[in-house]
């Protein structure tokens, strides 16, 4: 028994961070964030070369066949560098969706395309996960109509996976007849949300092979929640690291500000909140693969707790930077907004905690 990362996992995390640090210096990040699509073809290719596209895709479908903990490490690195790349929905939730509710033929057809980076799937839940906005889809005679707001990783997506209220999910081609996708730029310009209006669109696949479609959908939701928690962990760690570095060099009143207890204690408070979150995210990710009876509960708790801690760290780290933290100059706000985004999608803390209570049988759903 080990509670920790393997050597391979440590290596993977470090190499991904190295790559992102190299590709995303502040001026590059600022440029890529301008569009608000959460996508850059070159970065996407580079991440593919590192094996990110097929990370969770089983080896027989051309992927690396790794687990949710590896994906969480990737999400953490992406959050750390505020990388404008589809990940949580396109490369984790979508794969989980196919694996939990796609039939063998659908998996054979789509998982390799995901692994090759050809299919980038934006994904949308309705009330199932606490998303707000329009969520009124109906499937009639094999055609999908209605509206669904806030599909994640929707910018420059090739396909959309839209969940129906009954837990089944319909895959639709972007640009197909009857599909209107409106990019809604999010406050976090490194990730986009898309609003979908459908008028008799024909799905290219209908994921309905699970005996319990709602449970399958919840597993997809939980995978997404763990990724968002990991993303916040990375973004908050970045803000803390930078606050500490700034506090060590910025001089005021003749002293580096980090020697003032006021600033030092802000940093200590941030570290005290954030450090236990690392193991929490690890465990929540691991449980998705290995501890099914706890998976929903710990995913919800990780999402909620990281959202609370992330918000505090985001504010305190900005404060440590003083006026500079509030400007665009240091680019600290990319991580700040990343944390905002992670909190508000797939259910805020109150909703996630409610789901944790449901998962433990404390209350009916």
């Amino acid at each position: 028994m080990r509670f920790g990362l393997t050597e391979d996992q440590g290596l993977f995390g470090r190499s991904l961070r190295g790559f992102l640090a190299d590709r995303l210096p502040l001026d590059a990040l600022r440029r890529l964030a301008e569009t608000g699509t959460g996508f850059d073809a070159e970065l996407w290719r580079g991440l593919g070369e590192l094996g990110l596209h097929g990370l969770l895709v089983p080896e027989e479908h051309g992927g690396a066949g790794l687990g949710m903990l590896d994906a969480a490490l990737a999400a953490e690195a992406l959050g750390y560098h505020a990388a404008p790349a589809p990940f949580a929905a396109a490369l984790v939730m979508a794969v989980q969706a196919f694996r939990s509710a796609g039939d063998a033929e659908q998996q054979r057809q789509w998982l390799p395309r995901i692994a090759q980076g050809q299919a980038r799937i934006g994904l949308g839940f309705a009330g199932l996960a606490g998303q707000t906005g329009r969520a009124a889809l109906r499937l009639e005679g094999g055609r999908l109509s209605g509206a669904l707001d806030g599909l994640m990783d929707g910018g420059e997506a090739t396909h959309f996976l839209a969940y129906l209220p009954d837990g089944r999910a319909a895959l639709i081609e972007a640009g197909a007849p009857g599909v209107t996708a409106t990019l809604r730029r999010s406050v976090d310009r490194t990730r986009a949300l898309v609003d979908l209006d459908l008028a008799g669109a024909a799905p290219v696949a209908l994921l309905q092979s699970s005996n319990d479609p709602l449970a399958a959908a919840r597993r997809v939701r939980d995978a997404g929640r763990v990724m968002l928690a990991a993303d916040t962990l990375g973004a908050a760690q970045n803000m803390l690291d930078r606050a500490v570095a700034y506090a060590k060099e910025r001089v005021q009143f003749g002293r580096v500000i980090g020697s003032f207890q006021g600033v030092k204690y802000m940093c200590a408070d941030m570290a005290t909140m954030l450090e236990p979150c690392r193991a929490m995210v690890w465990y929540a990710a691991y449980a998705q693969d290995a501890v099914p009876e706890e998976a929903a509960m710990v995913a919800a708790h990780a999402k909620a707790h990281l959202a609370e801690v992330g918000r505090e760290v985001a504010r305190l780290a900005t404060e440590v930077h003083g006026g500079m933290g509030f400007t665009d100059l240091l680019g600290l706000h990319h991580q700040f907004k990343r944390i905002t985004f992670d909190r508000q999608v797939l259910g805020g803390p109150e909703r996630c905690r409610h789901d944790a209570a449901v998962a433990q049988g404390w209350v009916a759903a």
Binding site: V320, T327, H333, F336, H354
Partner: protein, 405 residues
């Protein structure tokens, strides 16, 4: 304690309520102040001024309504607009800081010239205080002005000049008496932003907009009578202004407006048909904040009474900014949570157009941190509260390493 409403006050309350009911369609969204007012905001402002719901106690000769000072009248008006969630008029640095400063220490001519256009929202002011080397230590300002041919000639640099990019005028703290001691060498000048030699470079913030600027002065000329009080009185005037700034930043009516706006959002059915106000965990969060807003509002009433009676509120006043800005941020935080994923949509508009609610709340959420930081982070406020409010000793000077003595 006597908050009894006289028949006159009851009549006013009914009058304001009726006004709001009749005109609410003409009101711009509450908030703003970070942009030049648009036509709608200017028209609304004119309507408020006409009815005496704005600048009520400012004398008619300066463009106000000329009513006698009555704290309860002002409270009735503010409360009615808060409850209805209707904009109580424009708030910006000119209106909230310069106007009361001029009323307190300006000349008759300055009052007649500047107050009217400022409260009508036509003349926009920016504040020239902070410099790159003196964020918290304002009295260390190095921007200098020397007198030549009946003009001050200004050279130097200011930073964090909010709205400088669309302002018409600036109130500027600068060094005119270099021979005098630090605090005695400053003057407080009024100058048009159109004056030659002023360069405004936008300073983009985390909101994605350039709410602040760096402002550079190269031989900028201002007639010597464009000064408030006399040469060397700048520090005194600046402190009058700062007093009003601290009150502006802790404004409890803004807090009340936010609370009401959130309550209204929580009363709307969500996608699943349920209202968040019916969910006890959400309601309790709102109620917690309501309790704090009530405390802030009551505290403000106490301070207003003390001010009216010439009592020095001391500690009571020092806490207002820290208390108010933190509470405002927590209100914005709840608003974001209430909106959920829909509230992430973010498309700030240009200088005059209105932002959508999601964008407005996201801006508030971030901008509030800027306000918490403003003037050197909340720690500076805590120093003021601890040292000036509670009489705790200052941080001792660090020992200077040998050789640097």
């Amino acid at each position: 304690m006597d908050l009894t409403l006289t028949p006159k006050h009851r009549a006013l309350r009914e009058e304001v309520d009726a006004f709001i009911a009749a005109h609410r369609g003409a009101a711009p969204r509450p908030g703003g102040g970070r942009k030049r007012p648009d036509r709608k905001a200017l028209d609304w402002q004119a309507l408020l001024l006409e009815h005496g719901y704005f600048a009520r106690t400012i004398p008619r000769e300066y463009g106000g309504f000329g009513a006698p000072h009555d704290v309860i009248e002002l409270a009735i008006i503010a409360d009615a607009f808060s409850r209805a969630g209707i904009s109580p008029g424009i708030h910006n640095q000119g209106i909230s800081m310069l106007v009361p400063t001029l009323l307190e220490v300006g000349t008759e001519e300055q009052k007649r010239r500047w107050i009217g256009p400022t409260i009508r929202g036509e003349t926009i002011w920016c504040q020239g205080y902070s410099e790159p080397g003196s964020g918290s230590d304002l009295a260390a300002a190095q921007t200098r002005a020397v007198v030549e041919d009946g003009h001050f000639v200004i050279n130097g640099q200011k930073i964090w000049t909010s709205s400088a990019h669309f302002a018409d005028m600036m109130f500027l703290l600068c060094r005119t008496e270099p021979d005098k001691s630090k605090h005695a060498g400053l003057s407080y000048l009024l100058l048009p932003m159109s004056a030659p030699g002023i360069e405004v470079r936008p300073l983009r913030t985390m909101t994605g907009r350039a709410e602040f600027n760096e402002t550079f002065f190269t031989d900028v000329r201002v007639p010597v009578d464009q000064i408030v009080m006399g040469r060397g009185d700048g520090w005194h005037v600046a402190n009058v202004t700062l007093k009003y700034e601290r009150m502006l930043l802790g404004d409890p009516n803004k807090l009340q407006q936010r609370l009401e706006a959130i309550r209204r959002m929580m009363e709307q059915p969500g996608a699943d048909g349920a209202r968040l106000l019916d969910r006890a965990e959400w309601r309790d969060r709102l109620l917690r904040l309501q309790g704090e807003v009530i405390a802030a509002r009551n505290h403000n009433m106490r301070l207003l009474t003390e001010t009216a009676e010439g009592v020095d509120s001391g500690l009571g006043r020092f806490i207002v900014k820290y208390h108010g800005t933190m509470l405002a941020h927590r209100l914005a935080s709840l608003a974001l949570d209430v909106m959920g994923s829909t509230g992430l949509l973010y498309e700030p508009q240009g200088e005059v157009a209105e932002d959508d609610p999601a964008t407005t709340w996201q801006i508030d959420y971030m901008y509030d941190i800027g306000l918490i930081i403003g003037g050197g982070s909340s720690n500076i406020q805590k120093n003021i509260i601890g040292e000036r409010g509670l009489g705790l000793p200052r941080e001792p000077k660090a020992a200077v390493p040998a050789g640097r003595n």
